[in-house]
């Protein structure tokens, strides 16, 4: 095989790995719930005891599974083996997943309410119904809430007037009405009720604000008891049962055996709850497996025990092993790329050294180039360590005494700097070395390093306080504390050169183009054709419309001619005309790029290998 052929093959194989890693899934085969099982909900329908759950095949791919409890043995079986409801491409409100199921049986019909994820990955409360014990479902779209009796939903607010993203909810069909308790991200706990799920009226008052709700809620459900909502909160490893109206706990908080309950739904029977538990795995998890093990249980409603296991993750597929190497591939490309950056630097160095060696005109500029390259390189390497900000107290020599005193010493020493202005810019670092004889501290040496100048007046104020703080905490005489105060040369050098040279030069160079644009606009922007007029008008509207001047110029116009207001025009121009034109360009570029990439990958582009024998 020739060199050219070998190189083409190498490029192809490297590219093939990434293409296969993209095209092929992480695993082949396996159950639809082989990754995770979550969000259980159950009910009793006639003689059938049913449970539904969200099974994940991958983190972002899920479907709703159905479990049936056989009356005799009480075991739960998954029937059918395929999901009964799955996110679909054209179902916008649940395209990217489902979670938090709630199932209610009304006669022979089942209604399932669930939280879907739309294109923006926002939660949208949706519902579906089934007339055949949950084997097939008919979607009805989002649950619609209203505060003013005008019942509608839009793409932008599919759940209608609900205040903020729905984080948790409980739903129950009671005495001919659907009733819900929602925990929303901004407002807190609100209630709603209505004859149908597209006709829900939100109650105006917020029952409990976010601050009043338990902290760290990982699961929530609620039930109507004597027409009052009773909430079940799983939060921070505990179950809290309280009346939602007044937030009064109805029973002692239960410390859960399983601290990692991530879903809780009352049912299928009155005194039961279906829960999802996350467990850390004893063995290392493969990339195609979920980081934690999830299991579903049917437990007592008060979670006095974990209950019986009803579902664990399904049979695993066969891994394709492609994803396992991606981290190493990422590190590989990062390191190789790091070496590549120096190619440009070497070329620059060669050019400028040639200019100096041959004594070409402008060699003093090349000398300046080298001087500043070396100076900045050295200062950056030694003086710009990440993580240094403000005032720091560092303990050297971690003896037991130093470790014991560290926290108290740092706190009292930092007090000395609080009244000084601009002290953070100076980045004062105080290194404390405690001198010990056996276990007793006998003295201390403080190395105070700063950037720039530490004025004598500030030093006179701070240093005695530092001495006193160390002496008091270490229980030694203040005279045994020695202080050595000096500027940190490298940090000061970096700070000075960076702020004095690099920043102003960079910004000034960037900004000079403004002037050239003005002279170009003056001379070259001539209205000679309709297209030039169009370009100029668009530029005017976009520029002025985005700025306060545009808003001010047209703010006096009446509301019914809002379309003449410059800000409105500017946004429409940007979002419609400009956006569509750029999209056309983008699609063209991407198709072209794809074609060029394919040519290179398949070795059809000979220009890459120019100079090599065929």
């Amino acid at each position: 095989m020739s060199k050219r052929g070998a190189l083409k093959l190498l490029a192809f194989l490297v590219g093939l790995y990434f293409v296969l890693e993209y095209v092929l899934p992480e695993k082949l085969g396996g159950d639809f719930d082989s990754y995770e099982v979550r969000a259980p909900a159950g009910c009793v329908l006639g003689t059938n005891t049913l449970a539904f759950y969200v099974g994940h095949y991958r983190a972002e791919q899920c479907g709703i599974g159905r479990l049936v409890q056989s009356g005799a043995s009480g075991t739960w079986t998954r029937t059918p083996n395929q999901p009964v409801l799955q996110p679909a491409l054209f179902q916008a409100h649940e395209r990217y997943g489902m979670s938090q199921l709630a199932v209610q049986a009304n006669g022979s019909e089942l209604t399932m309410v669930y939280l879907g994820k739309n294109m923006q990955r926002e939660p949208v409360l949706c519902y579906a119904t089934s007339g055949d014990t949950g084997l097939t479902w008919r979607r009805h779209g989002p649950v619609v809430f209203s505060t003013n009796g005008h019942y509608w939903s839009s793409h932008e607010y599919p759940n209608g007037d609900v205040p903020g993203a729905i984080q948790w909810y409980a739903a129950q069909y009671h005495e001919g009405l659907w009733r819900m308790a929602l925990i929303c991200a901004t407002k807190g706990l609100v209630l709603a009720q209505g004859p149908t799920l597209t006709n829900m009226t939100l109650q105006p008052t917020v029952l409990q604000s976010i601050a009043q709700l338990p902290l760290g809620i990982t699961a929530f459900d609620a039930r109507l008891v004597s027409n009052q909502w009773r909430g079940y909160f799983v939060a921070e490893g505990r179950l809290r049962v309280q009346d939602l109206a007044d937030g009064v706990d109805q029973m002692d908080t239960v410390d859960l055996v399983d601290k990692d309950i991530c879903a809780y739904r009352l049912g299928p029977r009155a005194d039961e709850a279906l829960i999802c538990v996350e467990r850390a795995s004893a063995t290392a998890r493969a990339p195609e497996q979920a980081p934690v093990l999830t299991e579903l249980y049917c437990a007592p409603a008060r979670l006095t025990s974990t209950g019986t296991l009803i579902k664990s993750v399904g049979a695993q597929g066969r891994p394709t092993y492609l994803t396992r190497g991606i981290k190493w591939a990422g590190d590989f490309t990062m390191i190789v790329g790091g070496f590549a950056v120096f190619m440009a630097v070497i070329n620059l160095f060669l050019y400028h050294s040639k200019r100096i060696a041959q004594r070409q005109p402008g060699l003093h500029n090349s000398v300046l180039f080298f001087v500043f390259a070396v100076v900045m390189g050295v200062f950056t390497f030694f003086g710009n360590k990440p993580g240094e900000y403000g005032t720091q107290i560092i303990m050297r020599a971690p003896t037991p005494a130093a470790v014991a005193l560290e926290a108290a010493l740092k706190k009292s020493m930092l007090q000395a700097f609080t009244t000084l202005t601009n002290i953070n810019d100076k980045r004062v670092t105080v290194e404390v070395c405690l001198q010990q004889q056996e276990t007793t501290v006998t003295g201390a040496l403080l190395h105070v390093r700063y950037i720039g100048i530490f004025p004598a007046a500030q030093r006179a104020q701070v240093l005695p306080q530092l001495r006193a703080a160390v002496a008091s905490q270490a229980r030694i005489d203040a005279r045994a504390v020695q202080v050595d105060c000096a500027p940190d040369v490298m940090k000061t050098g970096f700070d000075f050169v960076f702020k004095a040279f690099l920043v102003p030069l960079g910004i000034a160079t960037f900004s000079t183009i403004t002037f050239y644009m003005i002279s170009a606009a003056y001379r070259a922007f001539k209205i000679r054709s309709a297209e030039a007029v169009l370009l100029m008008v668009a530029a005017f509207i976009v520029m002025i419309g985005q700025l306060p001047l545009g808003a001010w110029l047209t703010h006096g116009l009446p509301d019914n001619v809002f379309f003449l207001q410059l800000p409105w025009l500017a946004q429409k121009l940007l979002m419609v005309a400009n956006s569509s034109a750029f999209r056309g360009v983008l699609i063209g570029i991407m198709i072209g790029g794809l074609a060029a990439g394919l040519r290179i990958w398949l070795g059809m582009d000979e220009s890459v290998y120019a100079g090599l024998d065929k």
């Binding site: 990434f18 983190a59 990217y96 994820k117 923006q120 990955r121 903020g164 993203a165 984080q167 991200a185 901004t186 760290g216 990339p287 991606i326 981290k327 591939a329 990422g330 590190d331 590989f332 490309t333 990062m334 390191i335 790329g337 790091g338 710009n384 990440p386 993580g387 900000y389 953070n424 960076f498 690099l502 910004i507 403004t514 002037f515 003005i518 002279s519 606009a521 003056y522 001379r523 922007f525 001539k526 100029m536 520029m543 002025i544 419309g545 985005q546 700025l547 306060p548 001047l549 545009g550 808003a551 703010h555 800000p567 946004q571 940007l574 979002m575 400009n578 956006s579 750029f582 983008l586």
Partner: protein, 291 residues
Amino acid sequence: MSATRANMFWQRVLYCDPRILYALFACLVVLCEFWRPRMPVPIPPAARKLYDLVERLPQDKLVIIDCELAASIRAECEGQFVAVVRHLFRRNLPFAIMMWTTQPEGIKFGTDIAMKLAQENGKEYGRDFVIWNAITPPPAGGAMLQAFSKDIPGMIQNDIFGTPLAKIGCMRGVQDISDISLIFKVSYVWNRAEVPWIGFVQSVYGTPYAAGCVAIQSSDAYPYVDAGQISGLLAGAAGAAAYERLLNAPGIGTATVSVQSFAALFVFVAIVCGNIAMLMLRATSEPEAAA
């Protein structure tokens, strides 16, 4: 004025020394430094979308701010960064600042600004926010992002002070991309080849992605806003000013756009004057040609 003299006059006007224009423009900008009238700041829908999105974020997930500030874009993007960080502090949303940048000074800017804002807002490093260790990404950083999405602590390991992420309070429970509620990128461009968030994270895992970029780059971001791939966009200083108005906290963005208003007006006055000069030159040349 005779036709010839008029013709010469308009020629001099049309072909004047550009340095006169530079000087006039510089004087205008300096004047605006002293006089900044208060004018209403318009709020673009894309900035409003970002604001509403942050208002709706859950408190149990982390926000990532991909900060690539550089000296040349400070004027536009620093305001965006400050405004969004302020909003996150206000809503008590934990966030991590990551700096995968080829601009080393960006690390410095981002750290300094974040720490200063934390002090102003009474927030504590580690509990309320964290600054991840800086990385310089390779030319094709998609592989790194893929690995990052699956194992965030494994990729980052430490914060910028060298503390392991496991010891940092706000990083507790953050394992992979599903623990992230929003990625906000503030940079010169809204999406870079070195860190392709849209291609490798947003479209794969659905994590909301928003961007703050310079105005020059915002034009080609709008198709992505329309497609929903970008959940919010702050375009230049105007975007920063709009966000500051939504927060009711005027800052660098608001100060910059009031000067930009008059400078933009100057450009159009110059264009109009140039066109008038061209038309007058043509008009005064024609009688001569006829003669």
